[in-house]
Amino acid sequence: MADFETPELKEYPVIPHIEVGTMAHSKPFVAKEQFQEPLGFPGELVDNWQQVAYDKMEELTGKYRSLAVFLDSCVKCGACTDKCHYYLGTSDPKNMPVARQDLFRKVYRRKFTFAGKYFPKLVGAVDLTEDVLNDWYSYFHQCSQCRRCSVYCPYGIDTAEISMAAREVMDSIGVGQKYCNEIIAKVYKIGNNLGLPQPALLDTLEGLEEDIEDDTGVTVRLPLDVKGADVLVVTPSADFFAEPHVDGLMGYAKVFHESGISWTLSSHASEAANFGMFIGSYENMRKVALRIREAALDLGVKRIIFGECGHAWRVAYNFLNTLAGPFDFLDPKYPVPMHIMEFTHDLIQRDALTLDKSANDDMVLTYHDSCNVARASRMGPKPGGQFILPREVIKASCNHFYDMPQDTIHDATYCCGGGGGLLTDDLMELRVKGALPRMEALKHVVENHGVTHMAAICAICKSQFAKVMPYYGFQMDSIVSVHQLVSNAIVLGNKQ
C-alpha cells in the first residue's frame, strides 16, 4: 500500500520510547505562487525571510495573549509528552507537544528574551536558520491542532496556538502549505473547499432528492439559495458527495422535512469549514466567515445551523460571533449559530420525530468524539453537552451502542489523525500513524462488544477514517455519520 509500515495494534496502549528523527522526512507540498497570493502571502521565500519572520513573531506575540503566555510559561514538566497521537503513532520526540512548541520557543527565546539573547546554550535558544525552518515546516505540519495536550497541561498551554502562529509566520515569508492555501483560495473563488460551482451543486442536490424519493417514496427537498427560508444550513462541502458524509446530509434533510421548518443551503456559503484557522490567519478566517453572514443577510433567514464538521464547529461556535457578528438580524430566540445536533436533539426531546431504532440493527455502534467539537466547543446550555447530545441522538436512533475506553473519549478523545489541515495524500504516512490510538480504542470495543461501526460528526474524521481504517484491517465503510443513523431510523410523514 505504501512505503511505510502501519503500526501494530497492541492489546493495551503502550507509550513508545523516543526514536529521534523518524518523521523528519514528512512534509506536505509547498504552496505555489497562485495559491499564496489570493491569501495575501508572498508567492515564494522572500529574500530577507529571517527578519520578516522575526518581525512576524514579534507582531503575533503582541496580538495574541495565548502565544505570549504559552511561550514563557512552559516548565518542561513532561505531562504532555505522551498525550499526542502523532507521538504515540510515530515515536518521533519532536511530536511530543512540548518539543513541538520548543521548535518555536527556542527561536522566540533567542530573539526576544534576556536569557536567550545572552545565554543561548543554557536555555537551548537558536536563530531561525534554514535547518530550523525545515523542522518548522515538517513538524508544524504534524500537529492537527486537536488540543489534547492543552487538556493535560497544568497551564493549559495549547500547542495548536503555537502551530497556528508558526504556520502564519511561514506563510508570511512565502512558505505556505499547498493543501490549506489552495483550498482557501478556492473558497474565495467558488464558495467551497471542493470548488463545486452553483450549477453542479444544484444538480447534486436534485440527485439526492431523487435518491431519497426512490428509497422512501417521500419527496424530501434539499433546497439551495431559497430566499426567505427560516434556516440557513452551512455544512462541509464533503457532505455533498463523499461517503459517508452524504448520508448525513440526507439525514439533515429528512429531519428538516419532519420538523416542517423551511431551510436552505447557500451556494455563496456552501462550505462550513474554515481553513483560515488551520493557518492561524485571523484575516483569512474572518474573510471566510463573512461569507456566511453575507449569505444569511442575502437569503433573509432567521437562524443559522451548522452541519457535522469538527473544526468548522469550533470556528462557528467560538469565533463566528467575533469574526462576523453581531447577528442581531437573526431571531434572538435561538443561539447563533446552532449545531444540527442541537436541532435534532431538541426535536427528539419534544417527541417530534419518529425513529425506528431497528432500522440500524445491522450495526453495533461506537462514537468518536471529534477533537475540536470535544475540546473547543459546546452544544446545548451545559458544559459537556458536546459529549451528551450526539450520544443521545445516536441512542435514539439505534439499539446497540458502546463507548470506547474512558481515556479515549469525551475531552480525552484522540484526533482522527487527519485534522488541522493535514488531510492530504502527501501526508499519508503521518495520517495512518496518527490514527493509531483511536484504532486501538476501536479494536477494544470491537473485540469486547462486537462493535461494527463508528459514528462521527466531522467531515475530516469521516474522510480520514474511511481512508486509514483499511490499513488497520477495518472496513472503510465502518465509519458512519451520526445523521446517517438518524436518516436510517427516521419514519417520514409520521408526525405531520
Binding site: L122, G156, A376
Partner: protein, 242 residues
C-alpha cells in the same frame, strides 16, 4: 559596617527590585496583550464564578496535572506546597511580633522543607530516567532544580547540622526593611543559602518561573465559555471592521 553585610544588603535590594520590576512588567505585558478569540479548553465554565472555581482547582489541586500524570503531580504538588509552607514560615524573619498564623504553621513548615526536597528530587529523577523528559530537558532545567534543591538543602542544614545566629539574621532583614542596616552573621551556609535565594529572585522574571504569573493569564483556562451569548472582540480585531 562589615563588607559582607554591604554586599548582601545591596544584593537583596537589587534582587528585590529586579524581581518586582521584572514581574510587574511581565504581568503588564500579559494583561495588555489582547486575547482576540475565545479559546477555553472545553468543557469550560459558562459563568465567571465557574471560571474562578476552575482556576482555584488548578492552583490548589493542580487538577489538569492530576489527570495527566500522577507522578509529576505528586512530586510537583509536594514541591510547590512544601515550598509555600516554607516561605510562609520564613515570614517570622520579617515580622515582629511574629503573626499568629505564622507561629501556628511553624512546626509544619519544618516538615514541609523535606516534602519540598523530596518533590524536587522526584522531578529531577524524571529528567534522567524518563527518556521523553530527558529529551526535553535543557541545561537550564537542570540548573533550576539544582538551585532550588541547594536552597532547600542549605536551609535544612541550618536546622539540623550547623545552626546559624537566627536572631541576627532576623535583625539583618528587619534592618533592610527599615533602612537601618544590621550586620549579617558571617556563617558560610547562611551566606550560600541567601546568595542562592537572591539568584532565584533575580532570574524569576527571565526564566520559566514565569509560569507563576502566566497561569493566571492562560486563556484556555480563564475564559468563560459564552461566545454565542456575548460577542468577544479585541481592539485590533475591531479595527479590521472599519
Amino acid at each position: 559596617m562589615p563588607f559582607l553585610t554591604i554586599v548582601y544588603a545591596v544584593l537583596f535590594y537589587a534582587a528585590t527590585a529586579l524581581m518586582v520590576v521584572g514581574l510587574a512588567s511581565k504581568i503588564r505585558q500579559y494583561a495588555k496583550t489582547p486575547a482576540p478569540l475565545k479559546i477555553p479548553t472545553t468543557p469550560a465554565p459558562v459563568t465567571r464564578s465557574g471560571v474562578v472555581m476552575r482556576m482555584f482547582r488548578e492552583l490548589v489541586f493542580f487538577e489538569s496535572l492530576f489527570r495527566s500524570n500522577k507522578w509529576i503531580w505528586l512530586f510537583g504538588w509536594l514541591f510547590h506546597y512544601g515550598m509555600f509552607l516554607v516561605l510562609a514560615r520564613h515570614l517570622r524573619y520579617f515580622t515582629d511580633p511574629v503573626w499568629t498564623w505564622v507561629d501556628l504553621i511553624q512546626p509544619f513548615g519544618m516538615y514541609a522543607a523535606f516534602a519540598m526536597s523530596a518533590g524536587l528530587l522526584g522531578l529531577w529523577a524524571r529528567r534522567f530516567f524518563v527518556d521523553r523528559v530527558r529529551y526535553i530537558s535543557s541545561l537550564s532545567d537542570h540548573l533550576m532544580l539544582a538551585l532550588l534543591f541547594s536552597i532547600a538543602g542549605t536551609g535544612l542544614m541550618m536546622d539540623y547540622v550547623t545552626h546559624t545566629d537566627i536572631v541576627a539574621v532576623k535583625e539583618f532583614f528587619r534592618g533592610l526593611m527599615y533602612f537601618n542596616w544590621q550586620p549579617i552573621p558571617e556563617d558560610p551556609v547562611l551566606l550560600v543559602h541567601l546568595g542562592l535565594v537572591a539568584t532565584l529572585m533575580i532570574i524569576f522574571p527571565i526564566s520559566k518561573l514565569l509560569h507563576a504569573p502566566g497561569v493566571f493569564f492562560s486563556p484556555t483556562r480563564n475564559q468563560v465559555d459564552n461566545p454565542r451569548e456575548k460577542r468577544h472582540l479585541s481592539a485590533w480585531a475591531a479595527e479590521l471592521e472599519k
